[in-house]
Symmetry: C2
Subunit: 276 residues, 2 copies
């Protein structure tokens, strides 16, 4: 089948490339651990290696590749913003990069790179969208425009805290819906609720192998308590989607798989910008 | 001068030993990086090396040395508790270990080891006491009894988050009262407020070298917002005491230096238990 676009989501720690059909279907996917912060060497060479024999269509990239620590800096567009974003040309045959979006509200600042492309792929002009991840985003779409969003460092705090220190248990972690629920309802601000994972373990009320599930409950619970929306559009797949579904209980409007969404978003942005 | 007690605060990452006079004065202090989690070898040998020629008085230890990962497990006493704690004998000439204190309130659990000794050294039968640290404690004393406390993972989260990831700046940090105040007033739960340190930097509203001060503001602010006490007794010295004083503004009742407090607490516990 003909390739309409080669779409690439190039993030901090990994990269995914999609060969995308004219109807948005992903024909083929390639992945590499060659992230913006983890890979090395000129981006032209890395992109060429990733593409291999894919040479038959324009290329659109999104994610950290467009940051000031990436390949070509695609400056932030300020929200409220339409998702008809104008990609920036990259020094490579027919390749462009999607800009990120910034949101400023008084003293409060926020930024996204990559999530704007997922949002562009959604068929939901009015929605509260939750995009879990290293830096989870909660975004509000109104009449097809991104009007505001807030970032929570859920995944990064989880990884940093479980790597060592008080939560180091020396045992392999096993998912526990019960421990997750305990974390979800732990009292106090995040910094106090997290300590419960240690205190309950020391007092025999939490199994060491359930520490990670408890921590997930605390961190995801903090997002949900701060964003008390109904009919949330959840952009997630796999175990993490299960956790958010359980935490949001009856407050999910739709669950959308992020990978096809990225491909659809890239194709839409490319079309609206006249690149394909 | 005669030594009444050799007092030792043996924590996770370091140990401090005090030769204490009958009036509670510290005659001499020794420090080593030989913490419960960082040192190796039999505790008898490590204690002997630490003491050197100090052999003229009973020994009382407090801190993680009494945990189930320490030398001798001194089980938690449950709060509400008097601070007349009964030390547990250690397998060494005339040495004992102060037990930690646990607090259970419904599902919520908390634990301390070492801070109970600082509290025993205070001359404040009724007080809300803030003990900043890796695991900051806010404790309530009523008629000389410890009635409740809550732990915040302030120092551990600070260290884990600044070590790598989104806050890695590549520049040496410089204290900034302005950035600290910004962090103190950042909106949202801790996981969102922390991200502000990155977003404001990316948008040019926070200098890279002020990231740590901003993070301190967020984390200390979460403690203070959760513990809205007046006339707080702050047990801290140095720059960290300055940060809490600035954050608590007019709500400080007293500032107490932790080191002499530890010595006084150890001596009081030893006396009340009839060890000296």
């Amino acid at each position: 089948m003909i390739t309409a676009l080669i779409g690439i989501d190039w993030g901090s720690s990994s990269v995914r490339a999609f060969r995308i059909a004219p109807d948005g279907t992903i024909l083929e996917t390639r992945r590499a651990a060659d992230g913006v912060f983890t890979g090395q060497g000129p981006y032209q060479d890395r992109l060429r290696a990733l593409l291999g024999d894919w040479r038959d269509a324009p290329i659109l990239l999104c994610g950290m590749i467009g940051s000031d620590r990436g390949w070509v800096h695609a400056p932030y567009v300020e929200a409220p913003a339409t998702l008809d974003l104008k990609p920036v040309a990259a020094p490579f045959d027919d390749a462009h990069i999607v800009p990120g979006i910034a949101f400023v509200d008084g003293e409060t600042c926020d930024v996204m790179r990559g999530e704007e492309t997922l949002l562009a792929g959604l068929d939901a002009p009015d929605a509260v969208v939750c995009l879990p991840g290293t830096h989870s985003k909660w975004a509000t779409l109104e009449s097809g425009r991104l009007t505001r969003f807030r970032t929570y460092m859920t995944g990064e705090i989880r990884a940093a805290m479980l790597a060592s220190g008080a939560f180091a248990t020396g045992v392999e972690q096993a998912a526990s819906p019960g421990a997750f629920a305990q974390g979800l309802h732990a009292a106090g601000p995040v910094t106090a609720a997290l300590f419960q994972a240690r205190a309950r373990r020391l007092l025999g009320k939490l199994a060491p192998e359930h520490t990670a599930s408890f921590v997930d409950g605390v961190l995801i619970g903090a997002e949900i308590a701060d964003a008390p929306a109904h009919a949330v559009t959840l952009v997630a797949a796999g175990p993490i989607a299960g956790q958010y579904k359980s935490a949001l209980a009856g407050r999910i409007g739709a669950v959308v798989d992020p990978e096809p969404l990225a491909a659809r978003g890239l194709l839409r942005i490319a079309r609206r910008a006249g690149l394909v």
